[in-house]
Symmetry: C2
Subunit: 161 residues, 2 copies
């Protein structure tokens, strides 16, 4: 009935600043992708939405343009740093094709949209929130994606020890 | 860093009366378990807890013993029928070792306990509730397991079409 289908698979891993997302990436490489597999790994990092230039901050002050520039640079550096950490994890997997994507906005929407846009067969992510921006006030990112992503979702928890 | 580890893997699939859980089993066989993989598939069915013999039902009547016997037989038949449907799905996978387990009680607790007891490396399940007993009033079984199971959890949704 359900024979294994030998075909290229597109595995998307949502990575962020957390140790947990790096653990999820590592688990997936150790356990899901055999050396002879035809797999494309899509690494996705969703950075926070860009600041709204004309708005006031919480204390009533306008952001100065150099502050905005600094925030944007910080956001870019963060994306680079996350991708570098991810690369260190999969560098021994010469058989894997890797595509890197950086999205901007609400992590839940960015992830689900990217799954659909790039036709992922499987989405892999950590279970706890999404990075230290605490973009989890509206509920867990992984809960949301498990329900709404248009492909199966693998949620990997980092063991406590 | 994260080389694929060639080792036996124990994949637990939680099955129930739903088409979705059968789809999850089928997806997992087609996409996760290559023919040469050393995999033990643990099929788990959690049946509802046995009726409490001395208690009254909702309308104030005691269950007669023949009613209880009928309910128990129904529950056993249901477990058999679910396992038979699952067998039809994996019958072509001669390389896979299969263990069948039937637990009794709250599906969420049965699943998480069984993951731990049998050392599953991966838990696979459908996303919508758990069978037609509507044992989902306290929240989704898959949400709970994604948070509490002591291994990564793969949630498979059945496509709408």
């Amino acid at each position: 009935m359900a024979d294994f289908e030998a075909k290229e698979r597109r595995v998307m891993v949502a990575v962020d600043e957390s140790e947990e997302s790096m653990y999820a990436l590592s688990w997936c490489l150790k356990n899901l992708i055999p050396p002879d597999a035809q797999t494309t790994l899509i690494l996705l990092y969703a950075k926070p939405p860009p600041p709204v230039y004309s708005s006031l901050d919480g204390t009533g002050y306008l952001f100065a343009s150099d502050v905005i520039a600094t925030m944007e640079k910080y956001s870019r550096d963060l994306a680079d740093s996350v991708m570098e950490r991810a690369e260190a994890i999969f560098k021994n997997h010469s058989n894997i094709k890797v595509e890197k994507k950086v999205g901007s906005g609400d992590a839940r929407e960015v992830i689900c949209m990217t799954v659909e846009k790039f036709g992922a067969d499987l989405l892999v992510m950590g279970s706890h929130g999404y990075g230290f921006f605490k973009r989890t006030v509206l509920g867990s990112v992984s809960d949301y994606c498990a329900k709404h992503a248009k492909c199966p979702v693998l949620i990997v928890k980092r063991p406590k020890n």
